[in-house]
Symmetry: D2
Subunit: 364 residues, 4 copies
């Protein structure tokens, strides 16, 4: 209830701080019998890990995952699966200058007020490093959903600062440092130049990330509150630095008429996807479409006005190894959150509705 | 767990269908000793109820609330408070033509697939009518927060279709049928003309709603998952027809630099509010700022392609009494959801952090 | 979270006070498609209701149940089912003398200390009258379990004060006022005489109740904490006046050796049932066996020492219409709690383990 | 939701298997600012650990605990505290003979049926070894409750097989291998002789354990379902091998009259404690009194009839290192569960009732 557990039936309880001895999570509710080893999880962690290009933090973390429980003879047993990741590169001295001051736009102000405790080591619990265990947990959900329904997840950056990135194909995202869904080298070059200038300025920038899921079963989502889109919004807004979430048409729907927005249905399926694959909080079977806005990181070299713990005015500049655009590494995280939400809702749906035979709409 | 309960410590469990005998909710976790009667709740329901202008549904519902439990001699006892609202105007015949077909953009398609049951009476459980009990429950939360911290809530429409509504003051919202925060008669007239034309066309339109809360205690929100902004996003996206949620700067942060976005702090407080009053998922004590996008209703007279329950192609036109812009009545609902989230987090915060003395930042 | 909701996936949220306008509950998570009407529920309420013999309270309550939501055209829709029972016989004057004093052994002392509010109307929320909605909710669970697995529930009184009631058959329980599983008229006469004398004395007495469930699926129960027996113990100890719970051999196992206690298994099944149908917290497929101890009611005419709200010494005698042995009406309540626990665990089990094919043990 | 998390606001999520690489738990909801190190936790683990006398399993486990998160500069931060205990003595070969058969009275039968997976390594997840992390977690709760309210916990064995152990004082429990609350050397000698004979027979035996808590705040417990006694019953029945739970007078109340059972109150407090410190599910401020029945372990050398995974009849004898009386090591576990329940309810109570001033009864 203290907010460190994600999910209802497929739950992920994370633990650890950015610069403590280790981070990790306990995954409860995984169906038994799934073939699972560290090799299923590590690739997702590698997509998210720091130090993969000059545009992200240079902190060196292998993010090597160890399974501590819940797997026997290569298969899940139905008992809690624990993932452990030891922290390796804990240069706490980098944070020396922010022990007593609050970075504008950073959680250190609110954590200190809430808990009366200051853990300045790399953001402590509020660090984006804590998304690593979740990405690991989601690798398990992704594998199970893939085997069960053929569900797949893709995502990428569609805007960096003011540079819109025209969508070509998700297949391009592994081939550039930005998870940009484009094969256009000119755009990638523009992004690289932009980031280089930004780094030189000691500043940071926001980004927009889109994620989708395909082959999603129809009928996922609970009415009224635990709607599928509500749970997705919760999951996405819970990612560090996210300030906005859209499903399907998102804010564009404000200017749409009903005659345009409502996705028509034919015998061969929906003709459009303004709904983002969700109607009344329940999945339609179409592609789930989600967009998020990620703010620029608050740890920048540019000096800003702030106060210290005694309330005295100070100027704050943050050194250390920070991402100038946390959005760059956000794609695997957003995919992970989407996978966890879908996994949870599959289990919830079959609890109550396992007896419902879904047929007859011509679409399933 | 079937998604009909909102909240963790201050919970609201709603029940009922649009055209069944009654709707209502059970509120659990309300602190004892709060003076409470129907007169505290009815005004909020009256703000939301149908039939108050020609621009909303003409269904006649008094939405008269009865307290069935949890109050003794005019005070809450700490036991569950039950609110009951009898349905009065149940002209089910209006829905006769949609019993076997699916409205494009409507939940009737997904409900039927999920549950294998069709309740065509006015949307059944998926009807926006089910927001009434929540508005009632939130009236209690608002009263408690007001007495305890002086917390207040305001909201209004800031865009209707393509018409942006420049913000003047929240005090104007009761004086026009749109909850528009403007005293500019020309703008109100433009909105009225727009809606009249839309109704004549048999079409519907989207809207953007902003809500804020003031005098919010610092320190609300749980780290990692049950962040205050994540719970707000969940609450807002769970409102019928919402497709997007923003906190503070929202999607505008994509194009912001860190040097611009991070709100500077001085001895007398924050100098800006890009954060929307939330950092690291925890309230800063500033105004909480939330925006939502509401899609156009799917129940329109304009014919659209769809299928029936056997998968055969049909054309669907919806008659009956529907809101051409569900956004018009959304303001009190959005305020209500925000109030419920804050109430819940106050209780959660004092469970764990009641011993923390919050002082010294100069801001609290 | 304030403890008025029972269950995890099949949840029952009760509301109301003994002498308020109404009591009832909201049942969430019921699978859709179950044929259901008031006629399925009323008979269980009738088994529990007061005034059925001279040995129980003479309060006149028809306990007539109304379904307010969740059922359409005679079938459950998967949305919340609300049961409403209006209170009819609210002679609050009977309680006039206990407004300011605390009955020894009664919840009025602790409620007042916890909530700072005194609701003296018949025990208010702590009244055993609040078991009525739960019995109603359990009627739905019983029906679903019966249709799905053929599960059946029986129970009865096996001891009244110092009088042990030798078990003959559950089929006798409807034929005497005690739910005694015996057809021996001499024993029934002894019980009647005993109760008549007790009433004359203005005193009350304890009882022991046994309940069983048959045709329970194998595999119900979650490991470590939400064990099936742990959840049964929680459910039973939560019934008003219960002070002890046993599963299977219960406290007799203290003096058993392992060579005696462990139930042997053969090709045709288990040879004994010391386990009470549960091993390691998970159902074995055998009969579930539970016993509970019910204390004598604290509302008696015999004067006892106590204090008033100011801490001054007083003598308390309770008049009004109370059960001299609350155990007499406890059988349907205990069956109800067992049914709710099993229902919930069936849904939980199929969420995680729907893919497990249970075979090969020769027993299922 | 899969039952590996204990608690509502102070939650303990355990993980690990008896013979996997490690066991441990994540504790969420601990108030910030509590001084904490491994030295606060290890002593409780040492009380529970195996190999401390010839009467318990000879498995050699140091049960050395490591804190992985949630503590900074010697104080809790309010974030999740993770305890890790590496397994050391994993002689899995001891279990070779039970890979394909089911021990009568053991969870291996039900686990296999539920999950379709067999983890024969020392009982896997169902092993009583998994109580170690909980004892560790409870050490934190005990410390916090001690500092806050002066709450203390004691417990001990009051019956071994047919040998009743007359209570003298809790202070004797550390001075004999049974946690017997007696200084009578003759009784201890009798117990030792009994256990020696039992071991020689290759058999096992049950036990009765009593635990108490003193200086418990008044007002803990939620009405109707999450009663304090219901949650205690759940916690206790969830301990491996427990088959019965009593609060206060327990089953003795069946034969009590109300005039005897109801604890009288005077200006200086209660005159007796049949209630076990709980009325209407809420603590009275008196000593909390709980008794549990622990069955004889099922892993014995005495041959018993069973079946194998194909349903064929077999004779099962269990070798390996098992406790002949699991009750001997159960005292610290039962104390731990009681501490966790009280801790959780303190947090729940202050969430809802922090504003209630508890005074005036003369007792608080």
């Amino acid at each position: 209830m203290s907010g460190n557990t994600f999910g209802t039936l497929f739950t992920v309880t994370t633990f650890g701080e950015s610069h403590g001895p280790a981070i990790g999570c306990v995954i409860d509710g995984c169906p038994p019998g799934l073939a699972l080893s560290e090799q299923d999880i590590q690739p997702e962690l590698d997509r998210r890990k720091p130090g993969t290009s000059r545009h992200v933090t240079q902190r060196q973390e292998a993010d090597k995952v160890e399974i501590l429980s819940g797997v026997y003879q290569g298969k899940t047993t139905g008992t809690p699966i624990t993932l452990l990741i030891r922290n390796e590169d804990q240069r706490s001295k980098d944070y020396g200058n922010i022990v007593d001051t609050f970075r504008p736009g950073h959680a250190d102000f609110t954590y200190w007020n809430k808990y009366g405790v200051r853990d300045p080591r790399g953001g402590g619990r509020s660090s984006a490093r804590l998304t690593a265990p979740v990405v690991g947990a989601a690798a398990i959900a992704k594998k199970w959903l893939k085997e069960k329904f053929g569900t797949s997840f893709q995502g990428g950056m569609t805007q960096l600062g003011e540079i819109a990135i025209p969508f070509q194909s998700w297949e391009h995202t592994p081939n550039n440092p930005f998870f940009a869904p484009t094969g256009d080298g000119a755009i990638i070059a523009e992004l690289e130049t932009y980031m280089d200038a930004l780094r030189k300025d000691g500043d940071s920038i926001g980004a927009r990330i889109d994620v989708v899921a395909n082959n999603v079963p129809i009928g996922l989502g609970e009415p009224i509150y635990d709607k599928l889109d509500a749970d997705i919004a919760y999951a996405m807004m819970g990612i560090n630095a996210v300030k906005g979430v859209e499903i399907g048409a998102g804010f564009a729907c404000v200017a749409q008429r009903g005659s345009e927005h409502g996705d028509e249905i034919t015998e061969s399926g929906f003709l459009s996807n303004n709904s983002g694959g969700i109607l009344g909080g329940i999945s339609t079977g179409q592609e789930i479409r989600v967009s998020i806005a990620i703010k620029p990181t608050s740890s920048i070299r540019t000096p800003k006005r702030s106060i210290d713990r005694s309330g005295n005015p100070v100027m704050v500049e943050t050194f250390g190894r920070h991402d100038p655009c946390v959005g760059i590494r956000a794609t695997p995280i957003a995919e992970a959150m989407l996978a966890l939400v879908l996994m949870d809702h599959v289990l919830r749906d079959r609890a109550q509705c396992a007896d419902v035979v879904r047929k007859g709409s011509g679409l399933t």
